[in-house]
Amino acid sequence: MRSAQPRKPVDDLAELRRLINQPERDKLRDLRDRLDDKEQRAHEVAAILPEAVTLSGDRSEELTRALRPAVEGSVRESIEKRPEVFIDALHPIIGSVVRRSIAESLRTLLQSLNQSLEQSFSWQGLKWRFEALRTGRSFAEVVMLRSLVYRVEQIFLIHRETSLSLLHLSADPAAAQDSDMVAGMLSAIQDFSRDSFKTGKDEALEEFRIGELQVWIAPGTHAYLAAAIRGNPPRELRAALEDAIERVHVLRGSALAKFNGDAAQFESLRPELEPCLRGQYQAKKTSAGTNRAWLALALGAGLVVAALIVGIQSEMRWQDFVRQLNAAPGIAVTQAEKGWISKSRVAFLRDPEVADPAALARAAGINPSRIRFEWKDYLALDDASVLRRFEKRFGKPAGTKLDLTNGALEIRGAVPYEWLARVQQDGIQSPGITSITDKDVKVTYDPDLALGRFRRAFSPPAGVIAKMENGTLLVAGTAPYEWLAPVRENAAKLPGISRISEEHLQVAYDPKLVLQRFSDRFSLPDTVNATMKDGILVLSGEAAHAWLMRVRPGAPTVPGIKTIDERNLTDLDLRAFQQSKSVIESAFVYFLVNKDNFATEGFAALSRLPDEIRRCLTAATRLGLEIQIEVRGSADAVGSGKRNAELSQRRAEAVRDFLVNCGFEPSLFKTMGLGAPPAADQPAPEQADRRTAFKVVPKS
């Protein structure tokens, strides 16, 4: 707390000074603060800077000069770091630079086009020109004012690669033909716009306007169309242009691709492009003026003449087309009407296999879409169509010649078997073919197909290899006989196989089947047992001679049997014959002494003999033998030799007579009188010598 003290004079002075100086000091402090405070200073400089720069600029260039390095440096740095800012900023300016450049080119182009227009001397053109002179308007202006909706003034067909003009059409034939330069300029404009606006390669400029003219571009692969049009064309015109350029490519695409600078070859495309040179005029306002009426009349007459010319041309083309259509094989025109406004109509019968009528129309210079084709399918029966249909169905082998005359088909030359077979089977059903002759053909066989047929027919077993060589079927490997047998018999009947070679073939026989075959063929008797051993037929048991006689030569012909072993087989008939023979030959008929009467001892033999002889004869017949029985009479040694010879003969005859009485043929017996046996020292009347004996011998 302050107490009241007496004041000093010094204090007062200080107080006074403070009072006087305080405001200045405050200001000074403020000033110092302002100078020290950077932020504040910036604010203040900002407030006066614009005015200062303006003032400086008014007075001299010094500031500009001083600022230049800094500004340039910062601009450069900024461009390097953030170019997009500058691009955005400069874009509008660049655009206008480009536009100016295009405008320059367009102006030259317009001049060229206008020049050709100006030189047109059509009647209407003259009229308009006169009006232009009279009113002081530009010619083009007058044209626009007078009723024109649009008119395609010029058409350029331009080669894309070289920018050269291929064809130039002008609505006004008298127009100057500086198409070459115009073509170049049109291309240049497109190139320029494409490069400047960085559009894609295929995005070309499609339309642009130069004064009163519009230029429409219809692009194509090798060439494009440019149409210079006055007025306001309808959208359909674009379609027409695109159509035309497409047709141009269809017709002359390859020529366009190979274009070497010679434009004359595209002159033929002129009719394709002519329809694009079209125009449309506003309907005339009715006017009472005689002048106008006269004008209309003249115009009408002109139109009629033009229409007539166009009409005659079109009619001629139509007639030509109908004639060609009718002449085409397989087409018969029944009705044809040329339509002038509506579509034309052609009705015809058409063989489905013949030329395309639309293609014929195109060839005759007529747009097929302008024709209504009405047809009914039919089968053409002229030789050309019939033959074509036949060939389409059956094909025509190389080397084969086909001639068709009035439905008679003659086939000559080399003909593959399979083809001929098909033709022979179905050819006559091909409509229009009435007969088929193939007497002069040389049938050829494809070895593979022949082999295929063989395989299908006989399915060769595993182990058999078959192949064809010059018509011979070579079979190799090992084949079972049962498979081979039908092959041998039938394979050569297959087409393409003339014979079979088994040179390298081994035949395998199944013994069971061989025996089966054997017994099937020779009906094996129950008494015979047959087995196979290494191709040898082993027979045992007993069999009739007749059977044996068949088997002996026959068995080796049975496939699989090489020879027969019949050592253990008995011939039943031979055995019976041998038995009877020995029975007969051991029978004796005894006689009374000195008589030719049978002694009782002989009766036993006599009673047995007839049966035995019969048995022997049967067996002999079976064996195929003809026999005779010698009846040998003899006498005992008593008595003279002469008498004995006589007696023995009589005794033999007595036996023979007995046997003939029993029913045997006399010729079966041969009687012999043997007399007495060679005399012993002491002849004795032996019963054993008074007898007749028998011997079975082959018939002499």
Partner: protein, 166 residues
């Protein structure tokens, strides 16, 4: 008649437009109007007795400000490479340009025209350099668009080179 697209290439101001004017219209002007984009002209020339039409593309000069637009070169059958004999640097630029063009077009016939031959005192290209170029199979022709000397000849040589390579 066979048409051919030919181009004139070279630095700005070497006289391309003047050469075309002399060749096509037999005219010359001292005034210099730089070409913007492209100017197209045509002339029929005789090559070995047959007539050939040149559609001539006079392209804007190629320099630092304006690069040559290569799309204009498409379909070119031959070109006249123009240099200004009084400015040595334009010859170097022309040779440089030729290499770039060959990359775009492939091997295409061309003739090198050393223009402004009438300004002999200021000539900067020496004969040694010309013969060095000739040795590289360049056809070098001195032309004067102003006086007409060598102009016909330059185009005729080009035409012959083109037919030879066709």
């Amino acid at each position: 008649m066979i048409q051919n697209k030919v181009c004139l290439l070279g630095t700005s101001g070497v006289g391309k437009t003047s050469l075309v004017a002399q060749f096509v219209h037999s005219m010359f002007s001292d005034k210099y109007l730089t070409t913007v984009g492209v100017k197209i002209d045509k002339k029929i020339v005789q090559v070995d007795g047959t007539e050939v039409m040149f559609v001539i593309w006079d392209l804007a000069g190629d320099d630092d400000f304006q690069r040559l637009q290569t799309s204009y070169l498409r379909g070119t059958s031959g070109y006249l490479l123009v240099a200004d004999g009084t400015r040595r640097v334009t010859l170097d630029q022309a040779l440089e340009l030729q290499k770039r063009v060959a990359e775009t077009l492939g091997a295409t016939p061309f003739v090198l025209a050393l223009n402004k031959a009438d300004l002999a005192p200021q000539w900067e290209v020496d004969e040694a350099q010309i013969s060095a170029l000739a040795a590289q199979d360049f056809t070098v022709i001195k032309t004067s668009a102003k006086e007409g000397a060598g102009v016909e000849e330059a185009f005729a040589h080009l035409a012959r080179r083109m037919t030879a390579s066709a």
